[in-house]
Amino acid sequence: MMSYLIKRVLMLVPVFLAVSVVIFAILHFIPGDPIDNLLKVGSSPQARAEMETRYGLDRPLPVQYAIWLGRVVTGDLGTAIVARRPVADLIAAALPHSLALGGLALLFSSVLGVVLGVVAALNRDGWADRAIMGGVLLGSTMPSFWLGLILMLVFSVGLGWFPVSGARGWSSLVLPVLTIGLGGTALVARITRVSMIEAAGRDFVLLLHAKGLSPLRIQLGTVLRHALIPVVTILALRIGWILGGAVTVEVVFARPGLGTLLIKSLSQHDYPVVQACLLMLAMAVMLGTLLGDILQAVMDPRVRASLS
């Protein structure tokens, strides 16, 4: 197990380097210059050149990349060009909000998704199965920003239960978590249902039936445990997705977070902030994949055996 863990973590290094090159390179293709946002209209070319030297934008790209990477590794994410504050501070202010929102949404969609998937699988092809699967399909096809606005219209404006926007207190989290969570529920429910049905057809389940165990006990005690392996893998993969997918919902509810920061800095061409946001989201995706692989190895001895 330990050697597998070390191998898997070491595999992240080349991936991280590749991602960092892509993120760094892509940003320099974006048209528009952050310096334009800083200079007063009609400034002299000299003032412009001075500004470019100050932020290192006059050096060749590979040099800029090497400097940037060296700083990133030591935790220095640079200074935001437009906001004029250390990027690390901006990220540190945004990250807790994103993590709270993403974590709760993940929890919500996994609990609801697994429960719905199990109920649907137990009533396979019955009315409950059809109603649940139809419902989660509808939930996953509504654009998340739209669902958020409609929930806001009904529960904040119509019923007055929750604040319309912002991030003050727990009640402001309810609607954003519901919005993101409902979209993710469909995937979890679908996979739980399919793998429950698949696991129920295996020989060892037949043996348990032959031994005379009660069907419900077999389903919840044995089948569900087997069915959860792919579900947990998918959930770990969703960690990055939930943080990234929260972009629209954060904007709709005017919540501080990585998404809002990314959209704002993208429109201001504030390279260092965009780079840092993308890097954070990329790292979340990579850590999610890592966690998924490790959990799979912990739960499934076959995976461990094939890798060691």
Partner: protein, 279 residues
Amino acid sequence: MNFPVMKAFRHPIPALSALWLVLVILAAILADLSPYDYDIQALSEAYRSPSAAHWLGTDEFGRDLLTRLIHGARTSLSVSVTAIAISVACGMALGAAAAWFGGWFDRAVTVTVDLTWSFPEILIALILVAIIGPGTTGTMVAIAVAYLAQFTRLTRAQILTLKGETFIEAARSLGAGNTHILTRHLLPNALAPVLVSAMLATGDAIILEATLGFFGLGAQPPVPSWGGMMSAGSALIFKAPWIIIFPGLMVAVTVVAINLAGDALVASLDIKAKLRGPI
């Protein structure tokens, strides 16, 4: 081939889904027949709630919402479908080449695809639109690239499985060349699952297009798109909620219809195992 496809639409739910899709496409084609124009402003008619004259009400400039919705269908559907078509064509070429040639090329493609695949499509699309610039072309390219990994991966897996089949060996022993085997045997056999997955991806692409439109990055005004209409409606949600409710419903119902019709096709063509693969 024809028989199982028709069989899929015998049941009421897939049939209704297909009917809805046909209606939306017809409306998009015949959008100009509406008695109203999508871009002529009539400020005295602004903010009318749904009525006999304006079935879905009017927007902040007094434009008929239903007319804008079906003109929006034209934009949103054509952008999504074209984007997915580009994505499928490029993905199939890349995936087939990777599976066929193997070696370093295959490894490079696989690593790149795995990397982009693990990123949320909305992030990839947002960055690309920022590079290309807002508008229908930018949206189209962004969506095409965002889904490229999916089709490359699927085609590559398909070709790799098919490569070992007996009929390929038979064709080879009969003296068939590389090009012949690839274009006449491998690609046609890989086509059905790729096309069904393309259909399902079109649903996701419609949502992605709407999201980009919501951020003001899609089709530029006065050309209506579902996302753009929701973007305008979001500011007026408390004053005239129907402006945002109907485009959103349109997106949801259309994407549900695509999914249900697609699922029926998957079931009838018996390609579920090929399409979803081991989870």
